[in-house]
């Protein structure tokens, strides 16, 4: 393992509408022996929205988050595809424009902070595969998810633009979810929507388009026999889970598919009770999924 202790940026949604993700992440990190130091004074990454009217403000706030991690001397972990993408984008911009970075650092100096390019920033998914290692994870699996059919749902910003997401060094990053699903003994459902947009960013702007996107992906995966979708992004989770009843109405597709967070998938496989990951606190019930799992054999 390269790093065992990380500065942890939970993002807004895990502290708001997806408290189960926050809980499951902390729980899984503990089980896996990954030490997390939460950055409780870091701000939202801007999610690409602040960038629409004030990219400089978003750059400065993200640089501040990076500097807070560096102050602790730790790499930075996030649990949101959007956070990952934005953080990688800002990191790329600041590295390529040293004069701009100097101006940003002059602002951060007011609170004794400084960002030096080179900080390691990883979503929990990347960390799991690259630092923790899937072989190690496999050894910890006490309850292989044999027989469960799980569809990956990545979230755009952890995949694109690949030019700034370390694809050269880690060419398989766009397959990690499939690799994790297999590592915990489940079967991958291969469907077209897995790498498309969940529609969440335009939910309040063009509701019909947003929900049609979500509904179509769920329908496609369900049609191919998926028991659940798993995502490393809480924003996708909101549109696919919390908005699923609305997406059903808008698209007319007969959908009822549990959407689980990545740490919950890991938790199930290493024997964490579902209630301790608040799997009973989803809008789409996870009951069917858990019943199917309960019927599967447990490894001694």
């Amino acid at each position: 393992m390269e790093y065992s202790k990380w500065a942890f940026w939970p993002g807004c949604v895990a502290k708001g509408a997806a408290p189960e993700l926050y809980l499951a992440t902390n729980r899984e990190a503990k089980e896996l022996g990954i030490e997390l130091v939460e950055l409780d004074q870091a701000t939202c990454t801007g999610a690409g929205v602040i960038q629409e009217q004030n990219p400089e403000m978003a750059d400065a706030l993200n640089a501040r988050t990076f500097a807070l991690a560096q102050q602790l001397g730790l790499p930075l972990m996030n649990i949101c595809s959007t956070c990952q993408g934005i953080e990688s984008m800002v990191q790329d911009k600041l590295t390529k424009r040293p004069e701009y970075l100097a101006k940003v650092n002059a602002i951060l100096a007011d609170e004794g902070l400084h960002y030096t390019p080179g900080l390691v920033i990883k979503n929990f998914l990347w960390l799991l595969v690259e630092d923790f290692g899937l072989d190690r994870l496999k050894k910890m699996v006490t309850r292989p998810l044999t027989g469960l059919r799980v569809g990956p749902f990545y979230g755009c910003y952890i995949l694109r633009p690949s030019s700034i997401l370390g694809k050269e060094e880690h060419p398989d990053r766009d397959h990690y979810l499939e690799m994790v699903i297999e590592a915990v003994g489940a079967t991958v459902v291969d469907y077209e929507g897995s790498k498309k947009c969940c529609g969440f960013p335009i939910l309040t702007i063009n509701r019909e388009n947003s929900l049609t996107q979500a509904g179509n992906h769920i329908h496609e995966a369900q049609d191919l026999g998926a028991d659940a979708l798993v995502s490393p992004c809480p924003l996708c989770h909101l549109n696919l889970d919390a908005q699923q009843p609305a997406a059903k109405q808008v698209t007319g597709h007969d959908i009822d598919l549990p959407i689980i967070h990545l740490p919950q998938l890991i938790g199930l496989a290493i024997g964490v009770p579902p209630k301790e990951m608040r799997m009973d606190h989803h809008v789409v019930s996870t009951k069917k999924l858990l019943e199917k799992l309960a019927a599967a054999p447990v490894r001694a």
Binding site: P19, R160, I202
Partner: protein, 333 residues
């Protein structure tokens, strides 16, 4: 080197489609286009595809390879297969546009969207006595979009167009930026007003697909974001997209983290009751699941709204970040 291809074929007369599989011997440095031409010349003369320059200049040979649009002439087979001779490349026509035959798309809708944004400069006032002068920084910025070769790759893979044919889509919106941001055009405000309507700049989900598939670095989505910034600077704020970005930014300035509860009323309009009521069943379901963040009940900016620790330091960064804004280049001459 062995090259395996699975090509989607469409019969123009019956409209029926299926796949043809080919296996050929080709040189190590072969491009996908080379391979397809080899198939057409020596294996199956009925295979239809478009190509012309073979140098990523004409934009004719866009097609989907393993699910993503790209120029066949620019795609090295070795790079696609990562050296695995057993990797069968799935080659299909572009998406979001009708297929005429095999790998040939009907691009009428592409050109119609391009015309929709009036893709030419419209200066007003008296003719200048000498040439127009545009600042270097502006021309360098516009170069991104001027690189567009109209290949259609971004339109093919646009995830919004997939669900809404009314969306102007990335290529034409990038072209719109090219004229709006050019100081020689005098219709900036009107154009931005029109682009802010349904089907325009605010309907993009920012999924980055167009940035990923564009073979020329146009990065259409980034141009859409620039158009949004310009629309806001032009005071065009009476739409859900503009309100969304405003309430979002306000929420971070106020509390450091997003206030999710107030995003909906803040975006659709605080008094847009029919639209807010539409979300009520969903909100109730979230509340039942314990997913409504009660701590965010007070709207951003109001006394008692939810705030992160150390907001005074965040506010300092927000205030001073204004100094990072680039100065607008001056137009001379």
């Amino acid at each position: 080197m062995k090259v395996k291809l699975k090509v989607k074929r469409t019969n123009p007369e019956t409209g029926q489609s299926g796949y043809s599989q080919y296996e050929i011997e080709a040189a190590e440095n072969v491009t996908l286009l080379d391979a397809l031409i080899q198939v057409r010349e020596y294996e199956d003369g009925s295979l239809a595809l478009r190509c012309s320059c073979r140098s990523a200049i004409c934009g004719s040979c866009s097609m989907r390879v393993d699910g993503r649009a790209r120029l066949a002439c620019r795609a090295k087979v070795l790079a696609i297969t990562r050296g695995d001779e057993n990797h069968e490349m799935v080659v299909e026509p572009m998406g979001n546009m009708p297929v005429i035959k095999d790998l040939v798309n009907d691009m009428d809708s592409f050109w119609a969207k391009m015309r929709q944004v009036d893709p030419f400069l419209q200066p007003e006032g008296p003719e200048p006595t000498a040439e127009y002068r545009v600042p270097n920084e502006t021309m360098i910025d516009l170069t991104h979009t001027m690189n567009c070769i109209m290949c259609g790759a971004c339109v093919s893979d646009c995830t919004v167009l997939e669900v809404d044919k009314n969306f102007i889509a990335p290529a034409a919106l990038a072209k719109a930026y090219r004229v709006v941001a050019d100081p020689r055009d005098d219709h900036e405000h009107d154009r931005l007003q029109k682009l802010s309507e349904y089907g325009g700049i605010w309907d993009c989900t920012r999924c980055n697909m167009c940035v990923e598939v564009c073979p020329k670095g146009v990065a259409p989505m980034n141009r859409i974001l620039q158009l949004r910034e310009m629309a806001l600077e032009n005071g065009i704020k009476n739409n859900a997209g503009a309100r969304h970005t405003n309430i979002f930014t306000k929420s971070i300035e106020d509390g450091g983290r997003l206030n999710e509860v107030w995003m909906l009323p803040g975006s659709v309009g605080m008094f847009n009751l029919p639209r807010i009521l539409k979300e009520m069943p969903g909100a109730l379901k979230m509340a039942r699941a314990g997913k409504l963040p009660i701590g965010q009940a007070i709207p951003p900016g109001f006394p008692g709204s939810h705030k992160m620790k150390g907001m005074d330091r965040v506010r300092n960064v927000v205030r001073k970040a204004a100094s990072l804004k680039p100065k607008k280049p001056e137009v001379t001459g």
